[in-house]
Amino acid sequence: MVTIRDLMKALSITNLTKTYSNGNQALKGIDLSVESGDFYALLGPNGAGKTTAIGIVTSLVNKSGGEVEVFGHSIDSELEAAKACIGIVPQEVNLNLWESVGNIVRNQAGYYGLHGKLAKQRVEKYLRALRLWDRRDHIARSLSGGMKRRLMIARALVHEPRLLILDEPTAGVDIEIRRSMWEFLQEINEAGTTIILTTHYLEEAESLCRHIAIIDEGRIIEDARMSDVLRKLQREVFVLSLTEELPEAPALDGFMARLRGDRELEVEKGPDCDLNDLFVQLNARNIHVSSLRNKANRLEELFMRLVDSKQQEAEL
């Protein structure tokens, strides 16, 4: 059953601006709208304004202008109701390093009004989920960087927020933990939590998120469903590993091919071409392919293109 709450936007940002006191214009009027239940990627190069936008939503930064609503609660008129909906994992470690892991999460539960048995259960649930339960009596200072990040995730989840915002949660996290973190985030997203994530690993955004927004120099330069964005990609480059060396790159109909090293062929594919067609042509020339990969992550190409074209415009 679809209720009004489900139809409500998890986050709606209108014409948000921020000028820091040193005159730095970090946000130049951004609009964002995050559907309830979505898994949303906010991407952009260093200094684009991602953390600033998140800071405003979580009331750690004062906005200069514009509107922010969290599940329909304006941060101007219903700040506390808006805050109650959000869990935040900040980019930079902001743990009390002398406090014990258990106390940190327990205190956070208290700040959201949870106490007694329920608070205890939640602390255990999320410390276990983030594999920190064994460490509950250790002080935060004694944790490794990746563990601190996991602790911040447990802390953000303890009140079971409807909107979870993660600012580069997987920076400095090892591959295994990163994968399990992805799974974990997907699980809680499936259970109904709306998630907004910033990351510089575009592979991460591509595999997790259903919607992406790209922000650059304080402006939104792309905002669309992930599937639409990927479809829009004009060209893709594949690297084929060949079983035998070739004297020169074959001329292929509809594809650009160049040799790359001994047994590697780089093939560029236009939007309307078919990969089957490529293999038919290779077969005809008796060229055998042992493996195939994307030259760069697809999203990465789009990202570079968008950000580059912005810079070229600026230079002209």
Binding site: P90, I104, Q108, G110, Y111
Partner: protein, 223 residues
């Protein structure tokens, strides 16, 4: 405002503050005890012998309430300052700022935590005043409050001051606290007790309001 949530949050802050005080007791409890012991010896014993009596009490007796109150005040104040600024520089103040409790709750929780530390230290100082012990030397820097406390009538009756300094003293909230407390113990005070309470309440309201203003504007804590 969700009252139940704010009550739980305030309790949480108070518990957090108590855990902090006990965790770093070497910094929070030991130094004031040592300082006060020194005060008792130097002012009470050495100087007191030359001063004689004050308002009919011997000097040691006269200053004891003031010294107890002074340690309560400096420790309450010091606790809120170090905890709050520690949280600001360590950035974990953000844990509280993102939560849906009101700013008043954050202030009240920290003030209550400070008062509890003050009372704990006050109790210890009272015990020291009663049973004199041996001592070692340590000097924590009491920078801001010291000038205030010296004008706060801890060591003297303000009627002994020149008129100008009497008036300066009257702008000092600590004067009223020390005198109210001394009145409670010795039954003597420079100021009428009703007057002292009225002024203290005015100070509380004014200071609380300015704290709320600072929190709401985010001065010093939010860009």
């Amino acid at each position: 405002m969700n009252i139940r949530l704010n009550v739980v949050a305030a309790k949480t802050i108070i518990r957090k503050e108590i855990v902090r005080v006990l965790r770093i007791w070497v910094q929070t409890i030991v130094p004031p005890a040592i300082t006060m012991t020194l005060y008792f010896i130097i002012f009470g014993n050495l100087i007191g012998r030359r001063i004689g009596s004050m308002d009919g009490f011997d000097y040691m007796q006269y200053i004891a309430p003031g010294l107890i109150m002074m340690s309560v005040i400096t420790n309450s104040y010091g606790n809120v300052v170090s905890s709050f600024f520690g949280a600001k520089f360590g950035r974990h103040i953000e844990e509280m700022l993102v939560a849906p409790m009101s700013y008043a709750t954050i202030i009240i929780g920290h003030v209550a935590g400070g008062v509890l530390r003050g009372l704990l230290v006050g109790l210890l100082v009272t015990i020291i005043a009663l049973f004199f012990t041996r001592l070692t030397v340590a000097h924590p820097l009491v920078v801001v409050l010291t000038p205030l406390t010296y004008l706060g009538g801890v060591f003297y009756s303000i009627s002994m001051l020149p008129e100008f300094w009497q008036n300066v003293s009257k702008a000092n909230p600590i004067l009223y606290m020390v005198n109210a407390f001394r009145y409670g113990i010795l039954g003597t005070s420079d100021i009428s007790i009703g007057h002292a309470y009225a002024i203290l309440i005015v100070f509380v309201v004014v200071l609380f309001t300015s704290c709320m203003y600072l929190m709401q504007r985010g001065i010093g804590i939010r860009e």
